[in-house]
Structure formats: C-alpha cells, structure tokens
C-alpha cells in the first residue's frame, strides 16, 4: 500500500513538472505579449514600453525567464500579475478560490447526487417510458452549450420573472451589517443560476455512466444468487449491485474534480461569478503570463489529484485492487 502510494504520488509530481514546463513553453510560443496591448492602448512611448519590458523581465531570453520562474515557484512565489500590477499571483488566485470552490463543490454535489439517483432509477426501470424520457431529457440538456443555457436561464429567471440575481456573488446594495443568515441567503440566491446551469449540462454523463454500470452488474450471477437467498430487494440493489456499479462513477468523479477549482470559464463569465475561471479568461485576454501560468498550474494539479484520489477510492472500494 505505502509503496504503491509513494510510486503513484511520485508519478503525479513528475507529470506535474512536465505539464508546467509545457505550459510555460506553449504560452511563449503563442503570438502577442502582455505589453503590446498596453503600448497600443495608451500610446506610450517606445522607450517607456521597453523599460516596462525590462522591468517584467520579458526582454530576457526565455531560458533565463524559465529559470527565474522555477526559482520563484520553488520558493512559493509565482510572481506578480502584469495586468493587476503589483498584486501577487498567489493573492489573486487565493482571492478567487472561495467562489470557485463554492460553485464547483455545489455543482459536483448536485451532479453526482442527482445523476446517481436518476441513473439507478433508470437502470431499475430499464426500457420503461420513464427511462426513455429521462434519457432524452438529459441528452438534450447535455447537448446545450453551457453559456447559452446560462443566458437563457438568466433571461428567464432573472429578467422576465425577476426571481433571481444574474450576476456576481453578493448583492452590492445589501446592508453591510446584515445578519450572517441574510448574507448566506444572499450568496445562495446568487449561486442558484450558475450552479443549475452547470449541473444541467453535466448531469447526463453521470446518469449514463451509472445506468450502464448498474445494468451490467444487475445481470451478474451474484445478484441472482442474492435474490435466491431471500435478501430484501432494496439490499440487493444497493448493497450488492450498486456497490459494484460505483467504480466507473468514481472514475468520472476523479476526472471532474478539477471543476472544483476551475469551474467553467463560460458560465463564470456569463454570471460574472468571481471565480478562477473568469480570472483565467481575463488573464488569457490580457496575456498576463504569470496569472495564466498560476491558474493553469492549479488546474493541472487538480487533475492529477483527482486521478490520485480516484485510484485511492478504487483501492478502498475493491478488495481485488487491494490485493493486486
């Protein structure tokens, strides 16, 4: 177990380093740089721009830039934002993290909670009318672009019905002395539309995974054997069948864990959600290298962590993996 974990972790660390190098190189290969726009926009003198280039180190050879980046990163310093100079990248990222975690966590919880429940229901009622309609409905939602669905929901619930806020995470007019309860309620109201949008477009995947996996298990001999010895049907379904139909869903959860941090760039933009997704999108637009790199590194760390956690979950759930 420990050896396996150490090996698996080392593997993740190496992958992370490789991905970071690739990110760094790829970013510099794309055309444009952070100061070009500045120069165009504000009609600065060529000398002033050159001075700025020198100040941010963009005039150095890429190898020098890379070594100084690595030296900084190893010391826990990801540099400062060019766009939001002189805010540190880590400060920017940390300030956006809570909003992303809230949205991503809510969406993962809803997607997997509802998706598993509906997928199990579909498998039990396979080929029924309800099963077919759930498949159609979920695939229809799945096919919708998230930003488009977000806009439609924002228009309907926010503008037409005036029921829910469509932007930001807090009501700017809220009394700053409002009680904890009122403030939480305010955040939750802001959370509803982006969370529903993201859940709606991702639900179908979990439902399909769960339905297929459970149908496969329900056909197996040990399910029949459990029924034949008089185990109550609810126990046959959840304890025997579902426990064995959980593995693909756990894999999917591992794959989607990065959503916790990155959210959805599109949906965060539509709802002006102050998360990392919109931070990254703005940073890309501004060629704000340090911020792009910082958020991308966070996401790739999440991807690797998700895979690691999924493997750990398999390990905990399946005695055959444990022995191997």
């Amino acid at each position: 177990m420990t050896r396996w974990l150490v090996r698996r972790t080392l593997q993740a660390v190496v992958t992370f380093v490789v991905v970071t190098v690739l990110l760094f190189v790829l970013m510099r290969l794309t055309p444009g740089d952070p100061l070009e726009r500045l120069a165009g926009d504000r009609q600065m003198s060529a000398e002033a721009v050159a001075a700025l280039r020198h100040k941010f180190g963009i005039d150095q050879p890429i190898t020098t830039q890379f070594t100084s980046f690595v030296a900084g990163a190893l010391a826990g310093d990801l540099g400062v934002s060019i766009e939001h100079y002189p805010t540190k990248v880590s400060t920017l990222v940390l300030s956006r993290l809570p909003a992303s975690l809230l949205l991503g966590g809510t969406v993962l919880l809803l997607t997997f909670g509802i998706g598993i429940a509906l997928g199990v229901f579909q498998a039990v009622k396979r080929r029924s009318r309800a099963d077919r309609w759930l498949t159609r409905a979920s695939l229809t939602l799945y096919a919708m672009p998230s930003f488009w669905l977000g806009l439609v929901l924002a228009w309907f619930f926010g503008i037409r019905l005036q029921l829910l806020p469509v932007a930001q995470m807090h009501d700017p007019l809220l009394d700053p002395d409002a009680s904890w309860l009122v403030r939480t309620g305010d955040v939750l109201r802001h959370l509803i539309l982006p969370a529903v949008t993201l859940t709606a477009v991702s639900l179908a995947a979990v439902m399909r995974y769960q339905r297929t996996a459970l149908l496969e298990v329900l056909r197996l001999d040990f399910v029949l054997a459990a029924r034949a010895r008089g185990i109550p049907e609810r126990q046959v379904l959840w304890r025997h069948a579902w426990r064995n139909a959980l593995f693909p869903v756990v894999g999917l959860l591992g794959l989607w864990l990065p959503m916790l941090v990155s959210g959805s760039v599109f949906v965060e933009q539509v709802f002006n959600w102050p998360g990392l997704g919109s931070l990254a999108a703005d940073a890309v637009g501004a060629r704000d290298y340090p911020v792009i790199l910082g958020t991308a590194m966070l996401v790739s760390a999440q991807v690797l962590l998700g895979g690691l956690l999924a493997d750990l979950a398999y390990y905990a759930l399946d005695p055959r993996v444990r022995q191997a």
Binding site: D221, L224, A225, A226, R227, R229, G230, R320
Partner: protein
C-alpha cells in the same frame, strides 16, 4: 403424505424477435421430503429456467404462464407476494449455482455474505451471525474456517467458493436444496468432493435435493429418482436403478451412450446426432423425432403423452404404446 414440492404443467415463455419462445413447455414433477431428484438433459433444454421458476426468479421478460402450478408443502408459490416469497427463498429452498467464481459478491468477505443470509431470515446480532457463519464453514468442510471468515471470494479456489455457496444456502436450514449444475465449472477431483459433500449434508439434514445436471454419470448411486428433460419437457422419469436398468426413451438411451465410459483402454463416446431445436420453433409431433434413431411415421405428427413403461416409470414416446420399449 403430500410431496414437499409439486410442479404441474410449468410453462415459461419469452417474447423474442422471432416470435414467442417456449423454453419450458409443460413440465410436471414432484419431490418428496428428503428425496434427491436428478433433472438431467442437454444444455439449453430448460433445466435452469425450471429451477429458477421454483423461486419465482425467471428473468424478465420471461413469464410463467397461467395454468402452471408450483406448490411447496401445499402452498401455491405462484400466488405469493414479495415478502412471502422472500420467506421461501433461502429460508425453505436454498439454491446453488453453476459458477462459484461469479456467484459470490467480489467486494464482501465470506463472513459478510454468510452472515447476511443468516440475518435475512433470523433476527440475530451481527456477532451471532458471524458465529453461525463459522459453524457453517466447518459443516461444509472448509479447512481453517476461522481464517477464511475474513477472506474475499477472489482469494479462494473454485471448489472452496462452491463450498461457501453451499454454506450460504444452508444458512437458514432449508427443507430443500436446488443445485443447478453445481460441479460443471469445477475440476474433476473437486467435482467428486462437492458431490460427496452434498450427499453427506443431505443425509445429515434429511434435506430434499433437486440436482440439475447434464451428466448422467454423476446421477447413478446418488439420486433416488431421475427425470430426463428434452426441449422444454420431461421425456422420461423413473427411479434411478430402474432408469439405468431399463432406459426406455431413445433420448435417454442416447444420453447414456454418450456418458464417457472407460472400457479397457478404449473410451467410447457416442453423442446424439443433431442439435437441440430452438425454443421458438419446436418440431411438430414428438420433439425428439428429427434426431430419433427409432422414429415411427406418426412421431412426426402426433405428440406423445406421458405413457407408463413400468413401475413408476413413464416416458413421452409412442414406443411405450407399441410395447417395444
């Protein structure tokens, strides 16, 4: 005394793309208390479906047709609700299956799975269920039973797993055990051990057994009676000694001839020519006539009923009437 189990005119149908399939098509038999009845027939003749029907476990969309009757100790099994059914499954009739490698849940320990079966029918604590699991493992002859309690199925051999399946089936002291080809998936030496174990348990508990097999070779000296099944029906039924002494149906004779026998250095094996027809289109007349070496002209058109050929010995064959059996 009424038999423990009575099956009357059991018919099972499946809707298929090629019309309705009739894999079990009018099967009647009974099993007395403590009796071992062997149900024998080639693969695909409907043995497993028949046994599943006894516990109302025919897989959907299969259906037991109206007019069929299954009585356990006089109780109409086909009329029972879900809770009453549960009190028969495992409690009064235990069942073991062909493939012990797949019949146990891979993610639970042996103690968990035996204990669960104990607790499905008796209100006992987890600790008591575990103690009972240990007793059962001892009873089915698993070495080091204490060590085996917390082991997962994949850590055991096929023979050991089949013993665990038997332990699970015995957990609630059923009056009857259905064993559907319990040794088909096992090595020959292990086969003999499992059959011996079943013999011993049956004697010790006075439990009735329905032993399903395609191998007449394991029936002799073990079963009290034999029912031979072909194409969804019983074609011959007799006490074991009688059947082996006077096999009468041409299909039974064919089966006996195809049991591998070692005569000196020569192994004779005479399989029956042809294959089992599909249950969507049974042949008209006698279902065996296309493969029958002794078929009469009327066999192609007239379906023979069960006719007596001796003491408690019946078969579905016109030869019985012709007195030529």
């Amino acid at each position: 005394m009424t038999p423990l189990l009575e099956v009357e005119d059991l018919r099972i149908t499946f809707p298929t793309r090629h019309g309705t399939s009739h894999p079990v098509d009018g099967v009647s038999f009974s099993v007395a208390r403590g009796e071992l009845l062997a149900l024998v027939g080639e693969s695909g003749c409907g043995k497993s479906l028949t046994s599943l029907a006894l516990l109302r476990l025919v897989p959907p969309p299969g259906q037991i047709q109206p007019g069929s009757a299954i009585r356990l100790d006089g109780t109409d099994v086909l009329g029972l609700g879900p809770e009453e059914l549960r009190s028969i499954r495992g409690r009064r009739i235990g069942m073991i299956f062909q493939d012990p490698m797949t019949s146990l849940n891979p993610v639970f320990t042996i103690a968990d799975q035996i204990g669960e079966s104990v607790r499905a029918h008796q209100k006992v604590s987890k600790r008591a269920a575990r103690a009972r699991a240990l007793e059962l493992l001892q009873e089915v002859g698993i070495p080091d039973p204490t060590q085996r309690l917390d082991v997962y199925p994949h850590q055991m051999s096929g023979g050991m797993r089949q013993r665990v399946m038997i332990a699970i089936a015995l957990a609630s002291e059923p009056e009857m055990l259905i064993a559907d080809e319990p040794t088909t998936a096992l090595d020959v030496t292990v086969q003999a051990q499992i059959l011996e174990l079943l013999d011993g348990l049956r004697a010790a508990r006075g439990m009735a057994v329905l032993l399903i097999t395609h191998d007449l070779g394991i029936v002799a000296g073990r079963a009290d009676r034999v029912a031979v099944m072909y194409a969804g029906r019983l074609v011959e039924e007799a006490a074991t000694a009688e059947l082996f002494a006077r096999p009468s149906h041409p299909y039974t004779k064919g089966l006996l001839a195809s049991v591998p026998r070692i005569t000196g250095a020569v192994t004779r094996l005479t399989p029956i020519a042809g294959t089992v027809p599909a249950p969507t289109a049974w042949p008209a007349g006698c279902r065996f006539h296309p493969r029958c070496p002794a078929a009469l002209p009327r066999c192609a058109t007239d379906d023979p009923p069960a006719l007596p050929v001796g003491n408690a010995h019946r078969m579905r064959c016109w030869l019985a009437e012709a007195g030529r059996a």
